[in-house]
């Protein structure tokens, strides 16, 4: 008995057995909340089963309002393709209630509030949903640790998340949470019949200002063969992004210092 307690004390803190919910909470904090704020130039390649490619390029800015798991503000400005160039989006993300979302349409110089209740909708036509980009409410699912497994040589906790309500369009999700830095290294989504239909992989992780960051990621639709590859560049944290950025004024005229 004494030996067992001693063994437990020797195990590093991060690897101590977490509940499924704790693992997902830590994973969202590491994946979606690091730093006070964050900036990245995002290049998305939408690739169909024949290898045809479409490109979406944007600048993404994020600011945390409170602690990890709390409110966040997002700001996005599009560079490519040309027909959405200079369009911008702003989201106020709230835990456990619908987001507020606005878009700016430069061709008619109009800011429009848009409905945002469907978080399972595709983000700009990619295989990522809005939820994949900015996080799914933790309380919407039950989370249970399934097993432990290595991904690319790293020890992971595999967590199964199952929607509490029956109206979700997916049956369950497995997340491979890195035991050391809590980043999700892999995710598999299953449809309501239990067939695997989407797979997320974190393809490259680098450390920026001390925050491990997924700078290359892929979401594959296993049923259609369509996939989206995402690359981050110009990644930075704790830039001192002002609260005033997230306003109609700057949605219409994004400040150059943030979108270059």
């Amino acid at each position: 008995m004494k030996r067992m307690i001693l063994a437990a004390l020797l195990v590093p803190l991060s690897a101590m057995a977490l509940t499924g919910e704790e693992a997902i909470r830590k994973s969202q904090a590491a994946f979606l909340y690091p730093g006070k704020d964050f900036k990245a130039r995002v290049l998305m390649k939408l690739i169909n089963q024949d290898g045809q490619e479409r490109v979406r390029e944007l600048m993404m800015l994020r600011k945390n309002i409170g602690e990890a798991g709390g409110e966040q503000k997002y700001f996005m400005v599009f560079f490519q393709p040309n027909d959405v160039k200079d369009m911008s989006f702003m989201t106020y993300k709230y835990p456990a209630k619908d987001d507020d979302r606005w878009m700016f349409i430069p061709a008619v110089n109009m800011v429009k509030r848009i409905a945002a209740q469907d978080k399972r909708s595709s983000f700009v036509g990619s295989d990522f949903t809005y939820e994949d980009v900015s996080g799914r409410d933790i309380e919407d699912d039950t989370h249970a640790v399934e097993r432990e497994e290595k991904v690319g040589g790293r020890d992971c906790t595999v967590v199964k998340s199952t929607p509490k309500a029956g109206d979700a369009d997916f049956g369950s999700k497995l997340t491979w949470v890195d035991k050391a830095n809590f980043l999700p290294l892999k995710e598999e989504q299953f449809d309501r019949k239990g067939a695997r239909y989407k797979e997320f992989t974190a393809d490259e992780v680098v450390e920026v200002k001390g925050f491990p960051t997924v700078v290359r990621r892929t979401m594959k639709n296993l049923q259609t063969g369509h996939r989206t590859e995402v690359g981050y560049s110009k990644v930075d944290y704790d830039l001192g992004i002002e609260d005033s950025l997230f306003s109609e004024r700057f949605l219409r005229q994004p400040p150059r210092k943030w979108v270059e």
Binding site: N82, D98, V108, N109, Q117, S121, H226
Partner: protein, 406 residues
């Protein structure tokens, strides 16, 4: 000439342009609209037939930005070669204020093809002739000052010269004309400018705004020199002031929008001059939501109430069609995306319950690649021969837009 002067001024106001961060872009576009019911009044079978080249320069340096958007087009229906400065302005952004000077597109309010507080110049012909939606707006030559103190945001717009909305060309559209025999027609521009102020802020999670405008009606009224034996008709832009407000926010599963405005017809407050539109109240309520993935629905209810209605009826000459005191319009826009949002099917439909006017615009748009898209759509009009859409009932058309962006 005026356009050229404006461009020169803008360039002069922007001495650093050579060292600035410069971005060039544009498109080549083909746009065709076929009549489906009847030929145009001039006998032609197309509502629109043109090739167009857009050139856009976007340069910025420090707190300055210069944007020039110019079009050159060839119209095959008699207008020939055309050029137009769509937008051309310089921006200066400071800490809590900014300034935009030059030709700029201005959009106020929350309506979808329904205009309550959006009093800025439009191109109604573009909408009815199957052109891309951005051509519905015409730039105004104006100075816009934005001031952003903590408690609210202010947008002041001053235009030294009035710019009118473009109405459909009588050679292409079958427009209602109560005096078709009078050939001598002149247009009187106001000769003065106009001004507007928008104040907006967040109130408990809702976007709230107040709008003030003093200027003129954007579409002309017509006045004959004599009611019994007219020889000349004068088109003029009656004086107008508006005061309005709007509110938009999350409600249930979607976004609810409310907008209202009082139209003060300064030239005919009593309502006794039938050639000048009476004062009005305009009301809009809208709800937008996403019933399922990649599908959105927007429902609008729009009402206009004419003030001084009894005076209007008394002054209206025998034989002229009479508007109702209240006009109620319901409109819907449904949009569904397919194929990773590269294919979009949308329908806009509106019907005025008071006079039977309707307008339906279905459209299918596909992005062939990231730089080539095409749209196929139709404009269907109907109602009373003098109604806004009813007069166009012989002008139904099917249109094609094909654009290569660079």
């Amino acid at each position: 000439m005026r356009t050229r002067t404006a461009v020169c001024c803008l360039l002069a106001a922007f001495p650093m342009v050579a060292q600035a961060d410069v971005n060039l872009s544009g498109f080549i576009q083909q746009n065709t609209a076929f009549n489906t019911v009847e030929a145009n009044p001039d006998g032609r079978d197309h509502k629109w037939l043109e090739e167009r080249l857009r050139f856009q320069l976007d340069a910025s340096q420090g707190n300055w930005r210069l944007l020039l958007k110019g079009d050159a087009a060839y119209d095959h229906l008699g207008r020939g070669g055309q050029s137009e400065l769509r937008e051309g302005y310089a921006d200066y952004a400071a800490g809590n204020w900014d300034l935009r000077v030059g030709r700029q597109v201005l959009t106020w309010g929350l309506g979808d093809l329904v205009f309550v507080n959006d009093v800025f110049p439009k191109d109604h012909e573009a909408l009815f002739a199957g052109r891309p939606l951005e051509y519905l707006k015409r730039g105004a030559d104006a100075v816009k000052l934005g001031i952003y103190p903590q408690f609210a945001s202010f947008e002041l717009v001053i235009a030294p010269d009035f710019r009118e909305s473009r109405i459909p060309d009588a050679r292409r559209f079958h427009l209602y004309d109560p005096m078709p025999m009078v050939a001598d027609r002149v247009t009187q521009a106001p000769g003065k400018g106009d001004a507007g102020l928008r104040i907006y802020r967040d109130i408990a999670g809702w976007d709230a705004a107040v709008y003030l405008y003093r200027g003129y009606q954007r579409t002309p009224s017509m006045r004959p020199d004599s009611m019994t034996a007219p020889t000349r008709i004068t088109y003029f832009y009656p004086e107008l002031s508006t005061l309005g407000a709007s509110l938009s926010g999350r409600a249930g599963e979607g976004v609810a929008s409310f907008e209202a405005a009082y139209y003060d017809s300064r030239q005919d407050r009593a309502g006794t001059d039938f050639t000048v539109p009476n004062s009005q109240t305009r009301l809009l309520a809208a709800y937008q939501w996403q019933p399922w993935e990649d599908f959105s629905l927007n429902l609008q209810y729009y009402a206009e109430q004419m003030h001084g209605y009894d005076a209007y009826r008394l002054s209206l000459p025998e034989g002229f069609p009479a508007d109702k005191r209240w006009s109620h319009t319901a409109a819907l826009r449904a949009t569904q995306f397919f194929l990773h949002q590269t294919l979009r099917l949308s329908v806009y439909a509106s019907r005025n319950a008071s006079n039977g006017d309707y307008f339906i615009n279905p459209e299918l748009r596909y992005s062939f690649t990231d730089s080539v898209w095409g749209a196929l759509g139709a404009n269907v009009f109907g109602g009373q021969p003098w109604g806004q859409f009813g007069q166009l009932s012989r002008d139904d058309n099917v249109y094609l837009q094909l654009r290569y962006e660079f």
